[in-house]
């Protein structure tokens, strides 16, 4: 028992494999935030007038807001004047037209991260948009996708090539007035991915964006917009890493999804931002607004997320179920270790008739971490026969971590059926001994038990992401057994 206890409390520092820094020359704006900075970002990107105007409105609105403090997370006040809002690797030309023009140092960075950008090197059909600090540095398979009318490109490029779509949809799901960080993002967002799937098209490959923060004292504020037109389907993957740095860095992204009639969007995230060291020094503040609108009838959006990184994770991928018979799903694994804090969950807003939503949330807390599920299920007065099923399970490791559940349910229609189940458990000594007696070492035993606990979520991920996620779960919990 004593020995086991020691293993529980002893922390073997975990190797954060993505923690390296790329030595590359960058063009960065000086730290600080002002109307002038917003104008400069817009100017660097050569944006049309309407977008600058929108940014400025967002900035002015942001100035009137107070930092929200309702989440179950604690951190020192952020000085927004200390952050640089734009950093881009120096370019030799006006943006790379092909991979040959991409700085080899950048290509090596993504290779090290396991995201080869060379199309020939990729076995599976996955198109990648690689976002490095504030800009997209490479985007693969664009031409092949274009044959079917699919648009998959950096946001900044879409602004130039398809301003009408940007104008129509930007902020239509997450308005800049939505919240503090959405307003900040709307004012200073730099790049991100843009996806449009035309009517009746089933996207033939997984689309993926790989976000990398490299520069010091820089925030990443990307903006992703995905539109699935009538009867279309797309599966989109998002991965994130950052170097190990002692300072905290802010990541405040906005993701907007729009699903039209009978369209389906599957959005998967494996978030592995640098979580800080075992004493809570450094790490990314991941304050993200993700929301989907099931605008059309019988449309469907699934969010699947595996969150193992970030010092603080604060996000609630949500679905607004406007169309009749639309479906929203949220599958989440949030792992916290050491001093990490997570306050994450979802919002399912039922507006249309016969709408249904499913929420499966798995929280794993180890070390001295804090892990909270926060979820809202709202059924509007016209949402006849709305259905929701929520399941929140927490797994505790050791005796210094904590799990919290904050479910909010607001039902304004008597025909609604809302179910909520919650459980909290610990990895038991019995389970560990059983596995060890079958020859598995402690780390493998923990990894296996945790993966079993998270199985309902992992199986929702596309194949190659699922493997990565499983490995990540084991890695994140290394040395934290209990």
């Amino acid at each position: 028992m004593a020995e086991q206890k020691q293993q529980i409390e002893e922390f073997v520092p975990q190797e954060y494999a993505a923690g390296f820094i790329t030595d590359i020359e960058a063009d960065s704006l000086p730290a600080g935030l002002s109307e002038d900075i917003v104008r400069q970002i817009s100017q660097i990107k050569g944006e049309p007038e309407f977008l600058l105007e929108w940014r400025l409105q967002a900035y002015r609105h942001w100035l009137t807001l107070e930092t929200p403090e309702w989440a179950h997370v604690h951190y020192p006040e952020i000085n927004y004047q200390d952050i640089s809002y734009y950093s881009a690797p120096k370019k030799k030309t006006d943006g790379p037209k092909s991979l040959d023009e991409v700085d080899p140092e950048l290509l090596r960075t993504y290779e090290k991260l396991g995201v080869p950008l060379d199309e020939r090197a990729r076995l599976a059909g996955v198109a990648v948009d690689a976002v490095f600090d504030s800009v997209s540095v490479a985007n693969t398979f664009q031409d092949k996708l274009a044959e079917q009318g699919i648009l998959f490109m950096p946001f900044s490029k879409a602004v130039h090539e398809h301003p009408e779509l940007i104008k129509q949809y930007l902020g239509s799901v997450v308005p800049y007035k939505d919240n503090y960080y959405a307003a900040l993002n709307s004012a200073v967002f730099s790049d991100g991915s843009f996806v449009y799937i035309p009517k009746g098209v089933r996207c033939p490959m997984e689309l993926s964006t790989y976000f990398r923060i490299n520069a010091a004292n820089t925030g990443q504020f990307e903006r992703t917009l995905i539109i699935a037109d009538d009867d279309s389907y797309v599966s989109y993957l998002e991965g994130c890493t950052a170097p190990m740095r002692d300072e905290n860095q802010l990541h405040a992204a906005v993701v907007e999804l729009v699903a039209m009639d009978r369209a389906q969007i599957k959005y998967s995230t494996v978030q592995n931002w640098y979580p800080g060291d075992e004493n809570g020094k450094g790490g990314i503040y991941n304050f993200v607004t993700k929301r989907a609108a099931c605008r059309g009838e019988s449309s469907k959006v699934s969010w699947t997320q595996v969150e193992t990184g970030s010092a603080i994770t604060w996000k609630y991928p949500s679905v607004v179920l406007q169309g009749d018979n639309s479906v929203g799903e949220f599958y989440s694994v949030a792992v916290t270790n050491n001093m990490q804090q997570a306050d994450t969950g979802t919002k399912m807003i039922h507006l249309g008739k016969n709408t249904s939503s499913t929420i499966i949330s798995k929280g794993v807390s180890a070390g001295r971490s804090q892990n909270a599920y926060r979820g809202l299920v709202r059924v509007g007065p016209n949402a006849d026969n709305a259905r929701n099923y929520t399941e929140c399970d927490s797994l505790l490791m050791g005796d210094k971590s904590a799990a919290h559940t904050f479910p909010y349910i607001e039902v304004k229609n008597p025909t609604a059926k809302v179910e909520h189940e919650a459980s909290t458990s610990k990895i038991s000594e019995d389970q560990l001994f059983y596995c060890k007696q079958r020859g598995l070492d402690l780390e493998d035993a923990v990894s296996m038990i945790v993966n079993g606990f998270c199985k309902q979520v992992i199986r929702e991920l596309p194949m190659e992401f699922a493997v990565e996620a499983q490995n990540l779960l084991g890695l994140s919990l290394e040395g934290s057994v209990g």
């Binding site: 028992m1 004593a2 020995e3 086991q4 038991s428 000594e429 019995d430 389970q431 001994f433 059983y434 596995c435 060890k436 007696q437 079958r438 020859g439 598995l440 070492d441 402690l442 493998d444 296996m448 038990i449 993966n451 079993g452 606990f453 998270c454 199985k455 309902q456």
Partner: protein
């Protein structure tokens, strides 16, 4: 194979094993019987390497190694197998996944390559026939929702797959109806070999009708107070354990 010398073990400062001496040679089947609280499960847990037991005296030599110095998983990799009295449920982990991980851990120690999916499945299927298990068990979560009999059969399936040198069966008969007992016993009998030693821990003589031991030992108050052959078990059946307690302390085989 196994030599236990003057083994003393305590839990939370309370001495449970008080000088066990036992030698088990390759190919032998030993039954250890005794009343509740005699230290039967403590003995199996100590041999398997469960945390929470303090060894205060004595030693255990297994294949010329100091067994007590090894971690539980190291003992398992070297061929020590414990069939649990209460097999643990592991939600979300499929039985086949655990079986494969366990087999590969043992193979890795033996310097063998991991089995690929097809070879592994072929092997598992052949072993499943031994305990008359349906293939659907492979895809269910480990022991979750299994009946008592299914759990015990699953233990014997793992034993058949891992082919241990020393198998300790902890009350494998408890909670089994007669049909399940027969299946489990047939499975164990099929696994008897000249290279494998088996220690059967049981409260009842019933099991020994199906798996006939070479030796029977009676454990009482943390010591082996009497040893004999299978006739000793029959004697016990007639007289019960009460006479054991009347024996003077310190008598051992």
């Amino acid at each position: 194979m196994l030599e236990i010398k003057n083994l003393h073990a305590s839990v939370d400062g309370k001495e449970i094993l008080r000088g066990i001496n036992l030698t088990v040679n390759a190919g032998e089947v030993h039954a250890i019987m005794g009343p509740n609280g005699a230290g039967k499960s403590t003995l199996s847990n100590v041999l398997a390497g469960r945390d929470g037991y303090e060894i205060t005296q004595g030693e255990v030599i297994y294949k010329n190694e100091n067994l007590l110095a090894l971690e539980a998983e190291e003992r398992a990799q070297r061929g020590v197998f414990l069939a649990f009295q209460y097999p643990v449920e592991i939600p979300g982990v499929s039985n086949i996944y655990l079986l494969k991980a366990a087999l590969n851990a043992v193979r890795k120690y033996q310097g063998l390559d991991e089995l690929d999916a097809i070879d592994f499945l072929t092997l598992v299927r052949s072993k499943m026939e031994l305990v008359k298990m349906d293939e659907q068990f492979l895809h269910r979560s480990v022991n979750e929702g299994f009946s008592g009999g299914e759990k015990k059969r699953n233990e014997i399936l793992q034993m058949a797959l891992l082919e241990p040198s020393l198998a300790i069966l902890d009350e494998t008969d408890s909670g089994l109806d007669i049909d399940a007992l027969k299946i489990v016993s047939e499975g164990v009998n099929a696994l008897r070999s000249q290279q494998r030693s088996i220690i059967m821990i049981t409260h009842y003589q019933r099991l020994l009708d199906y798996i006939v031991p070479d030796f029977v030992h009676v454990l009482s108050k943390g010591q082996i107070v009497k040893s004999g052959d299978k006739e000793l078990a029959k004697e016990l059946e007639k007289t019960g354990y009460s006479w054991v307690d009347e024996q003077p302390e310190g008598v051992s085989a």
